[in-house]
Amino acid sequence: MMSRSRRSVVILAASLVLLIVLLGGLLSSPIGLLIYLMDPASGVLESSNYGLIPAKHVERIPGLSGTVKIVFDKDGLPHIFASTEEDAFYAVGYLHAWFRLWQMDIQRRLASGTLSEILGEDTLKNDIFMRIVGLRRSAEATVEWMKVNEPDVYKLLEAYSRGVNDVIGKLEATHRLPLMFKLLEYTPEPWTPVDSILWAKYMAWSLTNFWEPLAYSYLRIKLGSNDTNLLWPVHPYYADNVTVMPGDGEINGKRIDVDPYYLRSLDWFGEWATGINYDDPKVADALAAAIEEALKVIDDPPRSIGSNDWAVAPSRSVEGVAMMSDDPHLSLNMPSVWFAVHIKAGESLDVIGVTLPGVPFVIIGANRHISWGLTNTQIGVMDFYVEKINPNNPLQYWHKGAWRDMEQIKEVIRIKGGGEKVIYVNVTVHGPIINSEGIPISFRWTGNAGFKNDGGGVTREALAIYQVNKARNLNEFIEALRYWDVPSQNFMYADIYGNIAVIEPGLFPLHRVELPTGEEILVVGSRSLLNGTGDYDWVGYIPYEDVPHAINPERGFLAAPNQMSVGPYYPYFILGAWWDPGSRGQRIFADLTSKPTFTAQDMMSFQADTFDWYASMALPIMIDAVESEVSGVYREALDIVKTWDYRMDKDEAAPLIWWAWFSILNDKMYRDYLLEHGIKRAYYPSHDTTIWLMRNMNNSKWFKPSFKKIVYDSLIEAIDKLAKKFGEDITKWKWGDVHKLYIRHLSMLDPLSRGPYPEDGGDDVLMSAPIPWDINILDNPRYVGTGPSWRIVAVMYRDGPKIYGVYPGGQSGNPVYEYYDNYIDLWLNYKYIELAFPTTPEELGNTIGMIVLEAG
C-alpha cells in the first residue's frame, strides 16, 4: 500500500502538472480567448459601458485653462463650450476617443500599413501597399513642418491628442475599452498629431488615388488609340453645358491660346505627349506586363466615386437667403466616417458640423457666418512614370541626363503571431516604385510631393480647414483655402450676407507639353504612363489665383456634383480628369432651373432625387428599337418602362427592368470585345459613352450583329432572368429586391453591421446608391456600400444660420447602445435633424447628458 506522504506527492505532482497543462493550453487556444472575453470584470461585458452619454460626468483635467462643458442635446449631438481653442480641441479629442476609439485606431492602422499586427497575414497586402505609398512618412514630414511654421495649429493637434490619450488611459484603467480591442486582444497605442494628419492624408489619398492613367495605358496597348479614345474620351460626351464654373472657362481674363477642341481631339498617348512609343510591340508588351504587376499590387480597379453639392443665391430662394446643400458620397460603414459636433471656444470659434474621428476640425458644416460643403473635383493629381534602370545597378535610374541613386526605405511589417515582413521601398525623384517585377513604374501624388513640389510630403490642409472653421466672410474663406493642398475639392459656400461661391483649391500639377504643331502648353494630369527621364516632370502647380472658382454667378446657383469643372477655354488644359460624365450634373441643373425660387425643403428633396438622366436618354432609343418585336411578358415589361418617370424608386419594377436590360446590353457590347483583345478585367466604358454610341454610331462593331438585335436580345435575356428570380408576375417585381444597402461594420462582422435595407437610388442619380451593372448579382447579391455619408442643408439667415443634417449611423461606436444606429431610419426616410446651434449651454434646453471637464 502507498504511504500517505507518497500519495500526497503523487497528488501534488498530478494536480500541478494538470494545472500547468490546463493553463498553458488555455493561453494558446480559442477556449482561452473565450475565458478572456467572458471575464466578468474586464471582458466584453464591461465594454457595454463604453461610449455612453453620461447623465453627468465631472472630471478634473490637468492642463486645461478653464472649465469645459460638453452638453448633449436630445439627438446625441455634443456641444462643447470652452474658453480657449486648446481646451475646445482637447474636448474634441476626448469625445472622439470616448465614442469612436476603435474606429480611430483601425483607421490609423489602415493608413500606416500596420493592420497585420492585429489581423495577421490576411491584411499583409494592404500593409505592403500602404508602406509603398508612404502616407505616414508624409504625415511625419507635415507635422515636423507644422511645429516650426504653424506652431499654433500644431498646439491644437497636441491638445486634441491629449484628449484622446486621457480617455485611452481611463478606459484601460476601467477595463472599458471598446469591444473590438477585446475581440482582437490588443490595446491602443497613444495618439499623436501625426496620427491626425495621417488620417487626413488617407482621406485625401482615398479621394484622389486615380489609377486611370495606368488602366488607360493598358487599354491603349490592348485596343489601340482609336478605340481607347472613342470609348474613354478625353472629356465626357455630355458635360459641356453643365460645368461647375459658369462660362466658357476664362478666368482672371486668361484663356487657353490653343483651340481646346483641337486639344481634345489629339491622341494623348502619342510619343510627343508621353515620351513612350506605344507602337513598338516590344515596349507595349513590356509595359502591359509591368502594368499588370502594378495593378496586382494595387488591386483597386478604376471606379467612380462622387458627391453632390450646390448653393442658391438669395435671388433664387423663397426666403431671400443663401442656401447650401452637400452630400458627400463615401463608403457607408458602422460606425460612420463622420462624427457630428458643435465647438464653441470663447469668441474665436463657434462651428458646427461633422468631423472625422481622428481629426479635430469640422470638415463640413457652418459657423455663425458661413457654411461650406465638399465634393471631389476628380482632377488627376497623380502621374505614373516609367523608370529607366541602370543595367549595371538596379538601384539607379536615369533622370535628366544622369544615373541617380534611388532612395531605399526599409519597412518592417509586424504580423500577428510573431512574424514580420521586411520590404524595401525604392523611391525615385517622382515617388515610390509600385511593382517589383518588370519595368519599374513609379508614381507622383500631390499628397507626397507636397506644396513645395519637392517630394517632401508637406501639405497644409489642417491649417486651411482650421481657418475655414473660423472664417467670418467670403474673403477669409478664400484666403483660408489658399492652404488647402490635397485632396482638391469643390468647396461650395453660402453665407449670411447672401453670397454664394464655389472654389476648387488644391495642388494641380502641371506638365509642359510640346504639341504636334510645335506649340508648347501647360497640361494638368495625364491619361497615360509618362516617360520618367525628366521631360514630363511636374513643373509646378496652378497658381491659387487661377484655380477654378466662381462667385455670385448671375444665374443664382452653383452646383458641383463632380462634373467637369470648367469650360473649354480654361487657361490650363485639364487632361487627366476623371469627372463624373454628367448625369448628376444634368439633373441638378434641371432641378435648379425647374422654378424661380426654392426652399430648404426643395434642397432636401433634390438630395433625395432618384431621376436617372441616362435612363431618360437611353430608354426611348432602346424601346424604339424593339417596340414592334416583342409580345407577352416582354411586352408587359416594355410597357412598364415606357410609362416610367425614370425615378429609381425601390418599390417600382421599372428601375429593375432598366438596370437588368442596360447591364446585359453593356455586357454584350463590351465583354467579348475586351476579351478578344486580352482584357480580363472589367473596364467597361461609362454610360454616357454607350449612349453616345447608341445615338451616333449604332452600326459600329459594338452592336453585333445589329443594334436592333443586340437591344432585343438584351431585353429578352433580362426579362427571362428576372422572371426566373422573381416569378412571372412583373407587377410584383421591385427595384428594392435587388438594390439594398448594407452598412458594413469596419471589422466586417455581420452582427455589428446594419441592413440590408431596400433602398432608392442608383449609380447615376443624385440619390447615389450604386450597385454593379452586372446581372449576375441576381444570384450573388452585392449590396450598396457607398452613398450620401452626410446630408447637410444650411439656410443662411442673416440673424444666424439654420443647419439640417443627418448621416447613416449614430454617434457612438458601442453596438449595443441606442446611439449606435439611431440616425439610420431618419436617413433612409430622407429626414433631417435640425442641428441645435446654441450660444450657451443653457440655451440648449432639452439635454440628455453632460460632461464637465474642470481645470485640475
Binding site: 494536480s15 494538470l18 494545472l19 493561453l27 482561452g32 475565458i35 467572458m38 475581440l183 452582427p751 449595443v816
Partner: protein
C-alpha cells in the same frame, strides 16, 4: 508559519479573493488560481478542498456575472458576442465557469497538498 485552518474561512477567502483579484484586473485565470490557493491553504481536508474550491469557483464568477448581467446592455453585449462567436450565450458562460472551477480546484489541491507536506500542522 502556521495556518489556522477553517473550511468556512476557506470558502470565504476563495470567493472574496476571486472577486477582488479579478476586479483589480489580474485577469480571470490568475484570479481563479489565487482563489484556489486561498481555499487550499485554509481547508482542513483534501475532500473539503475539492468541494469548497468547486463551490468557490462557481460562486465568485457567478456573482460577478450576475452583477454585470443585471445591466440590460451587458446582456445585449453577451448576445452579440455569442452571435459573433457562433456559440450560445449560456454555453459561453457555462464553459467559462467550468474552466474557472477546474483551475481553481487544481490550484487548491496543489496548494493544500503542498502545504500539508511543507508546513507544520496545527496543534
Amino acid at each position: 508559519m502556521k495556518i489556522y485552518k477553517n473550511n468556512w474561512y476557506a470558502l470565504l477567502a476563495g470567493i472574496l479573493g476571486g472577486i477582488a483579484l479579478d476586479y483589480l484586473g489580474l485577469g480571470i485565470l490568475l484570479a481563479a488560481v489565487v482563489s484556489g490557493v486561498l481555499v487550499g491553504l485554509f481547508t482542513t481536508k483534501l475532500r473539503y478542498t475539492l468541494a469548497l474550491s468547486t463551490l468557490s469557483g462557481i460562486l465568485w464568477p457567478a456573482i460577478l456575472m450576475a452583477f454585470q448581467l443585471a445591466n440590460s446592455m451587458s446582456m445585449e453585449m453577451l448576445s452579440l458576442v455569442s452571435e459573433i462567436a457562433g456559440f450560445p450565450p449560456m454555453a459561453m458562460l457555462g464553459i467559462t465557469i467550468i474552466i474557472i472551477v477546474v483551475v481553481s480546484m487544481l490550484s487548491a489541491i496543489t496548494t493544500h497538498v503542498l502545504a500539508g507536506l511543507t508546513l507544520p500542522k496545527e496543534p
